[in-house]
């Protein structure tokens, strides 16, 4: 479904991604793991074309995304949930959802407010509240809901568990599993290995913008030296 092919990306003069390649298959949840500064966010942004890779290809359902603008990428069916959440704080929850709304896609049931409120009941209670009145966890839920309004087939989640309370992290895990059942593919950038393991099928580990591991969690378990080298002390 998604194919990242030897991409290099720069932030200003800093070389962040180095010949990075990996794939996400249809219906799969893949975790992108690595320490702070390893290049996870840049990877997600490079897929979304918010950062333009200087070389290499990003393919989505065999279409080349390079040179597209972010709105075209979104229209193709990639939903982006940024790390900083970036909800529209002056807009109400309902208005935030409206910004994300895009027409339904063939073969998939369209998301609407009612369906989303079933998954995120907290948001319904506060649907007329402005974004800035929400807690961190609610904001995180809202960004996901907002992106789902665009009926994406692939969801890019950038560090969804960061900075929110453990109870909410659990909700988040359930949500991702629900979305997977709905047929969505997910690429999840994470630092929390525990969380990643619960929700995803496969792990890609990067360090200094280079891929260091790509495989199942069972394989990762049998390679404690990789885990130690790139994820822990």
């Amino acid at each position: 479904m998604l194919e990242v092919n030897a991409i290099n990306s720069h932030y200003g003069k800093a070389h962040i991604l180095n010949d990075l390649s990996f794939r996400v298959e249809a219906g799969e949840v893949v975790s992108l793991l690595g320490r702070n500064g390893a290049g996870k966010t840049t990877t997600v942004k490079s897929i979304m074309q918010l950062v333009k890779p200087t070389s290499g290809d990003v393919l989505f359902e065999n279409q080349r995304l390079n040179r597209m603008s972010p709105h075209q990428v979104a229209k193709l069916g990639i939903g982006y949930v940024p790390e900083e959440r970036r909800i529209f704080t002056d807009l109400t929850i309902l208005e935030n959802l409206e910004v994300g709304r895009q027409p339904a896609r063939d073969g998939m049931a369209a998301w609407n407010k009612e369906r989303l409120f079933e998954i995120f009941p907290n948001l319904e209670e506060r649907k007329h509240n402005r974004g800035k009145a929400l807690s961190g966890g609610e904001q995180q839920m809202l960004t996901i809901a907002r992106t789902l309004m665009g009926n994406p087939r692939l969801l890019l989640l950038d560090e969804p568990s960061e900075g929110i309370a453990p109870v909410i992290v659990e909700d988040m895990a359930k949500t991702i599993l629900t979305l997977k059942k709905e047929g969505l593919s997910v690429l999840l950038s994470e630092q929390n290995l525990h969380f990643a393991r619960i929700v995803s099928d496969r792990a890609v580990i990067i360090e200094s913008g280079e891929k260091k591991f790509d495989g199942t969690f069972e394989e990762l378990e049998s390679n404690p030296e990789i885990r130690d080298a790139y994820l822990s002390v």
């Binding site: 003069k13 800093a14 070389h15 320490r35 560090e159 960061e162 630092q191 290995l193 822990s232 002390v233």
Partner: protein
């Protein structure tokens, strides 16, 4: 032991949210002290309060026993703290050596001089500093065309221009290749040793932290949760959980799955 820098109960809240909460520590002479923690833990906020870029909500910062809280950065600098930035800040329209000369001109209080030419001022001193960081061969290049790692080294030279007592380095090796990282930190360690100054740095690369820091502090959600030697911090259970990659959690889950 007389501390170079002493921080007492430093606190910052943004609209009621505590970004840094009651942080206290001190930096000893000729010490390399690392401040680590997850993204958003409050490290940069802490640095910005130390240097005066952000006003503190509460608490005090003392340099050699003198309260510097609330001073603007330029005054803190004049009292002997030099800083490098997470995202490099250099004068893009000047050459490498001119960047250092600028800091020297400021140090010698010649900013309002309109008589002489600036490019001749303190040239030798500037070149010496560039030599110290290994940039002397690039002295006449435009700053805008430098490689990222070289910019970081240039920033270090600028930060050393006024012979500071303390260096604040915010993620000095971010965006550098692994080899460059070791080189830059070795250089910093040498300078600290040779000039008997102190360095406080934040860092994400644990290799860098554990091979160069004399002492490590861990910040999580604005609170200091550990402060001690490299060995102590590495083996601290809480630190491992919040930051160093959840190794223990991983094992827990792994075991749970087998059961």
């Amino acid at each position: 032991m007389s501390a170079v820098l002493e921080v007492r109960g430093l606190t910052k809240s943004f609209g009621g949210v505590l970004a840094v909460s009651n942080v206290s520590f001190s930096v000893a002479k000729a010490e390399m002290l690392a401040l680590i923690g997850p993204n958003g833990a409050g490290k940069t906020t802490c640095f910005n309060m130390l240097m005066g870029q952000l006003p503190a909500t509460a608490g005090d910062v003392l340099l050699h026993g003198e309260v510097i809280t609330g001073m603007p950065p330029r005054k803190v600098w004049r009292r002997g703290i030099g800083r490098t930035f997470q995202i490099t800040a250099t004068y893009a329209s000047m050459t490498v050596v001119e960047n250092v000369q600028m800091a020297l001109l400021s140090h010698h209080k010649r900013l309002f001089d309109v008589r002489r030419f600036a490019h001749r001022a303190y040239y030798d001193e500037a070149m010496q500093l560039l030599e110290l960081v290994g940039m002397q061969t690039q002295s006449e290049r435009a700053c805008a065309v430098l490689a990222y790692g070289d910019l970081k080294r240039l920033e270090l030279a600028i930060a050393l221009a006024h012979d500071p007592q303390l260096l604040l380095m915010d993620e000095p090796t971010a965006g550098m290749a692994p080899k460059e990282r070791i080189g830059l930190m070795q250089l910093t360690a040498d300078i600290v040793e040779e000039r008997q100054i102190s360095a406080l740095f934040t860092e994400h690369d644990m290799d860098v932290v554990f091979s160069h820091a004399h002492r490590v502090m861990v910040l999580n959600r604005g609170e200091l949760i550990a402060n001690g030697s490299v060995e102590d911090v590495r083996s601290d259970a809480q630190v491992q959980e919040v930051y160093l990659g959840g190794g223990s959690l991983f094992n827990e889950v792994a075991e749970g799955d087998h059961a």
